[in-house]
Symmetry: C2
Subunit: 128 residues, 2 copies
DNA sequence: CTCAAACTTAAAGTTAAGTTAAACTTAAAT
DNA sequence: ATTTAAGTTTAACTTAACTTTAAGTTTGAG
């Protein structure tokens, strides 16, 4: 069991983002690291995992507030039936968004493949 | 053969974006519609196709300047060998970016599926 | 203890991608 | 011919997501 703790700059360089971005995410309510006696931030493995999730979400195209919403749902322990149903719906909605993105990805890929083929053919003609 | 021409607002409503966005894309050099005698923009099928490509690229996460670069490559008719090779490289680079995105998509999908399963299990426990 | 490196906050600055507003022109409908 | 809907340009405004700066504090090495 690793209990490693990170300073802000350690974590930043590991994740290849700037310390300021990490502070910015905190300001937006996406993470909440502990503090030392002297008020400096200390990040746990859990914090690091959460940051990775944030970055993945960003690369996918979610906005910070969407990510924040998702994290909220993921971390709440809703024992009330209605709450649970809402959370379930939410995750289904996001999953269908992902399905749509996948399709779009295929379309773009097709465009690019066609482009590539054209270039290849032209190159071959040049060699004749 | 359809030779339909569009006014800016027709095209905008068809693509579900605002006329101002279309003008903005033009300002950024992404399209270049013809003009009427009275200086109003007229869009051809070709322009419409290009706009669709722009929107697809955006949904994928490309920035406007990346899209602009892509369009440049797609539309150039490079007959010089070196140019062609550069274009080929470019399309391969973009294709590998897409492959990466696909993997990330899978990761996020996994996260969300886990979340969903959790919610479902809790709901079932409530019913016991 | 001292000093530099790393940290802190708060506020201002930046960039991308639009949107909105003002002032004017063109096209279409009656 | 007149009115109105749609279009034009230019410039200012907006929002998200950071980044930078300034001024001060904490930590770790020697």
């Amino acid at each position: 069991m690793k209990k490693k703790k990170y300073s802000i700059s350690e974590l930043a360089s590991e994740l290849e983002i700037s310390p300021s971005s990490i502070r910015f995410y905190e300001e937006k309510g996406l993470i909440n690291p502990e503090r030392t006696k002297g008020n400096q931030r200390i990040y746990s493995m859990r914090d690091r995992a959460r940051l990775k999730l944030i970055l993945r979400g960003k690369r996918f195209g979610f906005s910070l507030s969407e990510i924040s919403e998702m994290i909220g749902f993921a971390n709440s322990e809703p024992e009330e039936k209605h709450q649970l149903e809402r959370s379930l719906e939410y995750s289904e909605k996001k999953l269908s968004e992902i399905a749509q993105r996948k399709e779009e990805l295929e379309l773009i890929e097709k465009d690019l493949l066609e482009m590539k083929e054209k270039f290849i053919k032209r190159l071959q003609k040049l060699k004749e």
